[in-house]
């Protein structure tokens, strides 16, 4: 295997369901945790992986399962030297001991689900933690010597003012994170939030908040390198970049996605089915697709467009996208306005 290769591991358990969330996760199946982690380990071992360059353990809530057990799953993945290993953490769960266990297992990057630093907004998002937990969590990460971390934040929660959002950004920046992902609250079909239009964000408000985020994050030395991601130099998430560059990766666990050379597939959605499949030694795949060359090419452009390096100049007619893109003759890149209207621009890729 040449080039980077990633592994994603899905942990489908949460304490409670956030009402904007559409991820494959469950709040009533904690009794499956032990068996599920065993199955993950078995599944990974059977894959007989060559050393991988990045691992991302996401969810759901990976910190919902015992740190030691998670470490055993991770131990089944062979790592190449310098591999990036990320775990998604809920600030409420993070302790120094937990971070030390992770660090010992090879984890060198934490992604913290902070969402907001304003209590009323957190409450409106249906989140339980308090901003003080976030500071404690960051202190624990640093104490355990974990090299880098990310903070996830969401803008556009119901009742969030521009000042609230500014408070969140400043609160987060006070923690001096090397990486921030700022997501516009997205209405996912089938979620309770989707059923309540009164709490849906307004696109203009989202645009204002995006611009504010970009201003403050850039001023703090975090450069935008993908529509929703900002990082200090060298702290970009290599695993995510792999996704966006159409790299190869294998996903383990329920609902995990995989990609190998233009073939994409995804696993059965529930932990039970995943368990059953692994135990029976059967495939865990639910369905998949093989991209034809043209679809793959276009998909590659769509993903690349969202990143700071943009797309080759011939992929877009820059003239008709005044103000949305800039070009140096070699590459066409989105301007900030263009990042906000990336879909419009995307439809014109050729």
């Amino acid at each position: 295997m040449t080039g980077p290769f990633g592994v994603y591991i899905h942990i489908p358990f949460c304490r409670h369901r956030c009402d904007y969330c559409a991820f494959a996760t469950w709040t009533d199946r904690d009794h499956l945790i032990d068996d599920y982690l065993d199955a993950l380990r078995l599944d990974i071992e059977r894959a007989a992986l060559a050393p991988v360059s990045s691992v991302f353990i996401g969810g759901g809530t990976p910190t919902r399962v015992p740190a030691d057990d998670l470490a055993k799953v991770l131990a089944a993945v062979p790592l190449s030297p310098g591999a990036e290993v990320t775990v998604e953490c809920n600030p409420d769960d993070v302790t120094t001991a937990m971070m030390q266990t992770y660090a010992a297992a090879g984890v060198n990057r934490i992604s913290l689900g902070v969402q907001s630093m304003v209590p009323s907004v957190l409450a409106a998002l249906g989140r339980t933690h308090v901003p003080a937990n976030v500071e404690r969590a960051v202190a624990a990460i640093r104490e355990a010597g974990i090299a880098t971390f990310n903070v996830d934040i969401i803008y556009g929660g119901s009742g969030e003012s521009l000042d609230d959002w500014q408070a969140t950004l400043q609160g987060v920046l006070a923690l001096r994170p090397p990486h921030v992902s700022a997501y516009a609250l997205t209405i996912e079909p089938g979620t309770p939030l989707a059923e309540d239009p009164s709490r849906h964000p307004d696109d203009d408000d989202l645009a204002d908040k995006y611009e504010l985020a970009d201003d403050l994050l850039a001023a703090a030395g975090l450069a935008n390198y993908e529509v929703s991601n900002w990082a200090a130099p060298g702290h970009e998430c290599r695993h995510n970049v792999l996704y966006w560059q159409q790299g190869n990766y294998l996903g383990f666990g329920s609902a995990a996605h995989s990609h190998l050379d233009g073939h994409r597939w995804w696993n059965v959605r529930t932990p039970e089915r995943y368990l059953d499949a692994v135990r029976a030694g059967e495939s865990t795949e639910a369905a998949g697709e093989t991209l034809d060359d043209e679809t793959r090419r276009l998909e590659g452009l769509q993903l690349a467009l969202r990143m700071s390096d943009g797309v080759p100049a011939e992929a877009l007619d820059a003239d008709e996208l005044d103000g949305l893109v800039v070009t140096d003759g070699q590459r066409v890149r989105l301007t900030r306005r263009g990042r906000l209207l990336a879909n419009e621009v995307s439809h014109r890729l050729r």
């Binding site: 991302f56 516009a184 529509v227 995510n240 995804w266 998909e299 879909n343 419009e344």
Partner: protein, 594 residues
């Protein structure tokens, strides 16, 4: 066949009172359809009919009951399709009048019942839905007796849902409806009362033989069309089409004569034999007249030919559609189409899009105006863009409807209000009973075709009902309101409205379009103007954000699909200048609440 054992009848009712359900029960009870093949509303075959739960094309079927042969004809219930009711009635000796036992008489109960009386048909009345807790058959039996003069004790009580009383209804049909009359040895006279186009067999016509015999292989003359045809196949629907060698007087069945479009086998046509044929045709032949017109344009200009072919095909099956090529500065090439009403227009647009895979934009609907020019010339204008310059117009006349609304008396005020705002003139107010009122109005057709029906329903919680007919042209103070999109006149969206309402209309249209036109990459001004003078203005602000925030982890597939779907959605938008407009924007604009 023994004439005395034949009974021909239609079921007539206000919409939703249960005609289709009753037809289902009759098919079951007479074993015409196997229980396992039974699906509800068996006779409503078009997909659209099933989805919207309304009957669009009349169907007919032969069933057997206790030694009698019954021909049952289901009829459509919506006002737009009233003409089909009348054609069906001409093939019958009687009708079953179905009235919802929880609603009582409604406007089309009356309209259809009067039609039946005009045709001199025996009326067997039945109160339906007696299984409903809210049913009050005693009360409505009295109402029917008072209003229609049908004796309360003669009114049957049934539930088309549970089947209760349906056998007694069939018995009553046999006892009360007269047998058809006719002379088997006289020259053939057969009435076509419906024609449908079948992709494989050409036009299949429903016929009722009045005199003589219609035999397979016969050399036929279609008297009004003046065409000679061969009777390739004759049969009856049980409801499965079953060929028979001949149909005698009183019998109802179908005829296939190698005809390629329904317009050549019109309802009302008389069929006779080419040799020794009848010398006189059966009664009147009426072309259904389109009342509402709009432009239909393909969103993708390359689809113009496909649209033409699709309209041709649709017309094979629906002779009431008219169309003529039209070109518009804003929309390119398309067709000016005429419809029986707004529902008909929507249905045709939907059928074109679905059955022929087209994406279309419909312009604002219009009625047909009569314009008298200063030079004395009179022209008919169904497209506001064709209105002569103001200085050449002496006056404009518009078509009026005679409208009848039946309502519980508590809603009289709000309905009079509605009619008033629609420029209606009250001609009569009648009490049908202490609780129910019938309002008679003269209202300009243009005011009725635009969401009048929906408004009436919403103001009365659905309790009022409506019937209408054309009553002639009257002079009105009319002006043309033009629309400008992004500074460019959008000729296809001009509308003719009353002068007193022009400002309100312009404002409302701009507001509605602002809601309905999605935000673009730039500000889009929307203006309404009369004779070049802007009377209203709104702006669709440029959109600032459309990007998907999340990457869904490794789920790249989902992200790509979302983008593809969005791009697909753009294909249903028509570009007018640089502005992308949804294809149903005008239909939607007119439907929104005041």
């Amino acid at each position: 066949m023994d004439l005395s054992r034949i009974r021909n009848f239609s079921i007539i009712a206000h919409i939703d009172h249960g005609k289709s359900t009753l037809s289902d029960r009759i098919l079951e009870l007479t074993n015409a359809v196997d229980a396992r093949d039974m699906r509800s509303q068996y006779l409503d075959t078009m997909d659209l009919e099933r989805e919207r739960g309304i009957t669009i094309k009349a169907q007919n079927v032969r069933v057997d009951w206790k030694g009698y042969t019954l021909h049952l004809i289901d009829t459509p219930g919506h006002v737009d399709f009233g003409y089909e009711v009348s054609r069906s009635l001409a093939a019958c000796e009687g009708v079953v009048l179905v009235v919802d036992a929880a609603q009582g008489i409604e406007a089309q109960t009356l309209a259809n019942c009067y039609l039946a009386m005009e045709h001199d048909l025996e009326i067997v009345a039945a109160l339906n839905k007696i299984d409903l807790p809210a049913a009050d058959p005693d009360r409505y039996a009295m109402e029917i007796e008072t209003v229609l003069g049908i004796r309360a004790e003669d009114i049957l009580r049934i539930s088309a849902k549970t089947g209760e009383g349906v056998d007694k209804l069939l018995d009553a049909i046999c006892q009360r409806i007269p047998a058809p009359k006719g002379d088997p040895d006289a020259p053939l006279q057969a009435l076509i009362f419906d024609s449908q186009y079948d992709q494989y067999r050409g036009v299949v016509s429903s016929v009722r033989v009045m005199n003589g015999r219609l035999t397979t292989g016969a050399d036929l003359l279609f008297m009004q069309a003046g065409t000679r045809q061969e009777a390739i196949e004759i049969g009856v629907r049980r409801p499965v089409p079953t060929p028979v060698p001949e149909l005698g007087p009183g019998e109802v069945g179908y005829l296939i004569a190698g005809i390629k479009e329904v317009g050549h086998a019109r309802s009302g046509e008389t069929v006779t034999t080419f040799v020794h044929g009848a010398t006189t045709a059966l009664h009147g032949y009426r072309d259904p007249k389109p009342m509402v017109f709009c432009g239909l344009f393909p969103i993708d200009g390359d689809d113009f030919e496909t649209l033409r072919e699709s309209l041709e095909k649709l017309r094979l099956n629906d002779a009431s559609i008219s169309y003529a090529p039209e070109s518009s500065g804003a929309l390119g090439f398309g067709f000016r189409c005429g419809f029986l009403g707004l529902l008909h227009m929507e249905i045709v647009k939907e059928r074109l899009e679905r059955e022929f895979n087209l994406a279309l934009i419909a312009t604002a609907p219009s009625v047909e105006y009569r314009v008298r020019k200063t030079n004395g010339e009179v022209v008919f204008v169904d497209n506001p863009a064709d209105l002569p310059p103001t200085q050449n117009i002496d006056y404009i006349e518009e078509p009026f409807f005679r409208v009848s609304i039946i309502t519980p008396k508590d809603y009289t005020g709000t309905l009079m209000d509605l009619c008033q705002t629609r420029r209606g003139e009250l001609s009569k107010l009648e009490y049908l009973s202490p609780e129910r009122v019938e309002l008679h109005y003269q209202i300009p057709l243009a005011e009725v075709v635009v969401d009048f029906f929906d408004q009436m329903k919403s103001r009365t919680q659905g309790y009022a009902s409506l019937d209408y007919e054309l009553s002639g042209y009257q002079r009105s103070q009319l002006v043309r309101v033009d629309l400008l999109l992004n500074g460019q006149p959008a000729d296809a969206f001009s509308t003719i409205v009353h002068r007193d309402k022009a400002f309100a209309y312009g404002n409302r249209m701009c507001e509605k379009l602002k809601e309905l036109i999605p935000r673009q990459m730039f500000d889009v001004p929307i203006q309404a103007a009369i004779g070049g003078k802007v009377i209203a203005r709104e702006t669709v602000k440029a959109k600032r954000k459309d990007v998907l925030a999340k990457c869904y982890g490794g789920d790249i597939t989902r992200k790509r699909k979302l983008l593809e779907k969005q791009k697909e959605g753009k294909k249903r938008m028509k570009s007018i200048g640089r502005v992308e407009v949804p294809g149903d924007v005008f239909i939607s604009a007119l439907k929104l609440d005041d």
